[in-house]
Every structure is written in structure tokens, then in C-alpha cells.
Symmetry: none
Subunit: 251 residues, 2 copies
């Protein structure tokens, strides 16, 4: 299990690389993590791993590579995570909650003092997919030149890890008591229940879902819901719908 470390939030942060094509980038990422005092590298369906290229570019950080966790899905990599931040170079249609790397780092460090957090990076060529973005509670970007904003994956990981370390060093201690944020699983269950209710009542047509669920995901992600709040929201959805489809047992 992931050990919560109040003493060092950097140890409580996962760097999640999705469908990485070049093993050299995985090695570069491992080195970037280690230089900044991070250690948790999670790999979702890497194309080639382990690989000598990864070892070579990891340089003195092969221990981080060896401890890297390979997962079959992003949901698995985000298990137990309270704040997941998608790192993207693109402005997206529905990317309402887009903050800079620096601001994201401050928020991640605040959360990571009490609960696991994660930064999520997409494939080198395609970036994060819509499905992957949906799993993130916040999007962050490195303010780059608009004419050429494509950082190398290893370089982007370096900048984000650097900002995380600066944020951790800047804060002597938690200024506000941290909230008990809902876990990834809790949120996904809530989204699923909400979607079911909307389909049952005909508000959401599964044949033509439009952007309804992505919009709702982003809205609630922005709020960074607490455990208790997800509880309340699920209760409301249940209460509003329970007697709808005719006589049912309450509960």
C-alpha cells in the first residue's frame, strides 16, 4: 500500500506516464523524479519496458525505474489518489480548470501532505486522450511559446517535478488544514451513479450523450470534492430518483 508521509509530500506524489512510446523518455523521467526528491513512477501500458534505453537515460536513477509500477489502466494507477492533475500542452474545448504548472504544484503539495496525489502525462505524440483527461480533477500546462509549445516528455516531467520541489520547499508547513478529499474510486462511483440516473430519467440519451458527462466531470473536478460531499451528492441523486420509476423499495 501507499504509505502516507506527512513529513515529505514529495514522497506522496505519483508521476503517471500513459502509453509512453520511447523507453528513453521513461528513463529521463526517472532521473527527473529522483533529482527533485520524488520516487513514485507509475507506467500505464508502456510500449517498451523494461528497456536498455530507459536504463541508460535514467543514469543514477535506475532504482526509481526498478520500483516503477506498470499498470493496465489509468484507473489502476490512480487508485487511492485524492488529486489527479493532467499535464497538457493543448488548450481543450472543455478545459475549464486549466492552471499553470506552478499553481498546480502548489495545490498538489497541499493535498500531498495528507493524501496521495498524481500528475498524469500522455503519450509523446498524442498527449492525453479525452478519456484520460476525464480521470483528472485538474489540468495543468507549462506556459510555453504558442508557436512551438511541444516540450519533450522527459523535459516536461522535469519542469513539473521541479515546480513540485519548489512548492514543497516554499511552504514551511500547511497553512490551512487540509480537507479530506474524495478518492478516485469514490468520484468514479458517483459519476457512474449520476449517469445512470440521468439515463433512467431520459435526461441523458446514451445514443446522443453530447458532452454532458465530460462537462459534469469537469465541473465537479473543479470543486475538488471532499469525501463527505460526495456522500451528500450521492444521497441527493438517490433521493431524487428513488421513487421515480414506480414503486420501489426504499433504500
Amino acid at each position: 500500500m501507499f504509505r502516507v508521509s506527512a513529513a515529505d509530500p514529495l514522497k506522496n506524489i505519483r508521476i503517471v506516464l500513459c502509453e509512453t512510446a520511447h523507453p528513453g523518455n521513461i528513463g529521463a523521467a526517472a532521473r527527473a523524479l529522483k533529482t527533485m526528491g520524488l520516487g513514485e513512477l507509475w507506467l500505464v501500458r508502456p510500449e517498451r519496458f523494461p528497456d536498455p534505453q530507459a536504463e541508460w537515460l535514467a543514469s543514477g536513477a535506475t532504482d526509481v525505474l526498478r520500483r516503477a509500477k506498470v499498470c493496465g489502466s489509468l484507473d489502476q494507477a490512480l487508485g487511492g489518489v485524492a488529486l489527479s492533475v493532467g499535464c497538457t500542452a493543448r488548450t481543450r474545448e472543455l478545459a475549464v480548470s486549466l492552471v499553470t504548472a506552478r499553481e498546480a504544484a502548489a495545490r498538489v503539495i497541499e493535498v500531498a501532505r495528507a493524501q496521495p496525489a498524481a500528475l498524469v502525462f500522455g503519450n509523446e505524440t498524442f498527449g492525453l486522450t479525452g478519456h484520460q483527461v476525464d480521470r483528472c480533477r485538474l489540468l495543468a500546462t507549462i506556459p510555453a511559446d504558442r508557436r512551438y509549445s511541444s516540450l519533450n516528455l522527459g523535459a516536461a516531467v522535469q519542469v513539473f517535478c521541479y515546480e513540485l520541489r519548489q512548492a514543497a520547499l516554499a511552504e514551511a508547513g500547511p497553512r490551512y488544514k487540509s480537507r479530506a478529499l474524495a478518492s478516485h474510486e469514490q468520484l468514479e462511483h458517483f459519476f457512474a451513479a449520476l449517469e445512470r440516473s440521468m439515463i433512467e430519467t431520459g435526461f441523458l440519451n446514451p445514443e446522443h450523450p453530447k458532452k454532458l458527462m465530460p462537462r459534469l466531470r469537469r465541473l465537479f473536478s473543479r470543486a475538488q470534492l471532499e469525501k463527505e460531499e460526495v456522500h451528500i451528492l450521492r444521497g441527493i441523486v438517490k433521493a431524487l430518483t428513488q421513487r421515480k420509476a414506480g414503486p420501489r423499495k426504499s433504500g
Copy 2:
């Protein structure tokens, strides 16, 4: 000659790589420069340049590579420069002033609004020599983990260029287009409708409301809802409840 640009200090900064061993790092540096809006790459006695590895890692920044100036000495690369900053991972005995990358960036940008400035990077293995350090007016370091502080050269260039860009942008205005936030009235109408629905379904007991509405208000306030989102939420509440209390006219 180097053209002074008051409008864009980033165009007035040289990134100088000394005796670089791996051409891939030169390519990675070119890409790092371009993504951050810099363009002046100076190479002091590179071991292999030009080289296909450099081209490959430069990706979309091969134009920066092609314009790179190859010099026989650091003094040549620093000709006309008003502030030269040596970038180092090591603490040195006779260190001139040692500042963080962030502080160095602020100083460099200030100078570069009027005069050329430069960041100087040493060889991958040996770093800056004493002779090279002597040519720098300031030393800067990336605050890294002391147990493993050795960043890849390309990654270090990326972090410094990133900090330069952040320093240059610091005085700029809002970078992201603002969202169409819901008005006060819109939100209050939504809260009222939500409260009515919860009372009708018995989820909220108006005799003992506890903290339910204040909690929901806080939650949705945190999300800073857009007009469109309030619309959607009201639609959902309506759809979930409309047939509940027995046969009613839809609408």
C-alpha cells in the same frame, strides 16, 4: 551582431553550452529554447556537431540548431554580454554569488530588457571548469535533492529556460481566456430549486436542515460555475424530480 530587443527580453538571452559531449543534448537544448520562446544557442567547442542525433532530439526546433553559433572559446560566446550566469549543480569553494534558478532568471530578464545576457552550461560529466566559472558574473543552481542532484543537461536547460519565460511573463496580464461565470442571481435560483427538490423528496427536513445547504453552497461556489453549467445542473434536478410527486404536467 546581436540585436537588442527591448520588447522581448527572451530574444536577448544566449544559452551557451560548453564542450558538450552528446549531440542529443544539444538537440534537446534547442527544443527547450524554442518552447520557451528563446532562440540564441551558442556552442563552445562541441564534441560532435552537427549530428543526426542533435537533429532528432531537436524535433521541431531544427531551425534553432541551424542558427546555432559554434565558437572556439567561451569569451567569444560572451562577447557583448552584460550579465553571464554560470549554471551549476555543485557548490564551489570560491563561488561568486550563488542564487537559485528562479532568482537568476529574474535578474537575467531585468538585464535582458536592455542588454544581452547569457546562461552558461558546462560539460555533462565535469560541469563548468574553474576557468569558465571565472567568466561568469553570477552562479545559479537548481535546488535539487542533495542525494542525487545531477540533472540531465537538456533537462537543466529546460528548467532554466522555463524560469526565464516565467520571469518574462510575470508582468503580463491574464493568459487564459476568462470563463462566462454564472451571475449571483442564477446561482441563487439554482440553490433555491435544489433546496425545494430536496425538501419535496424528504432528503432535506426543513425543521432540521443541519448544514446541508451551506455545505452545498460551499461546494458549488468552489467550482466557480459557468452560466451554462448552472443551466445543466438545473436541468438535471428538474429531470430527476419531475415525475416524482405523482402525475404532473411535464415542463
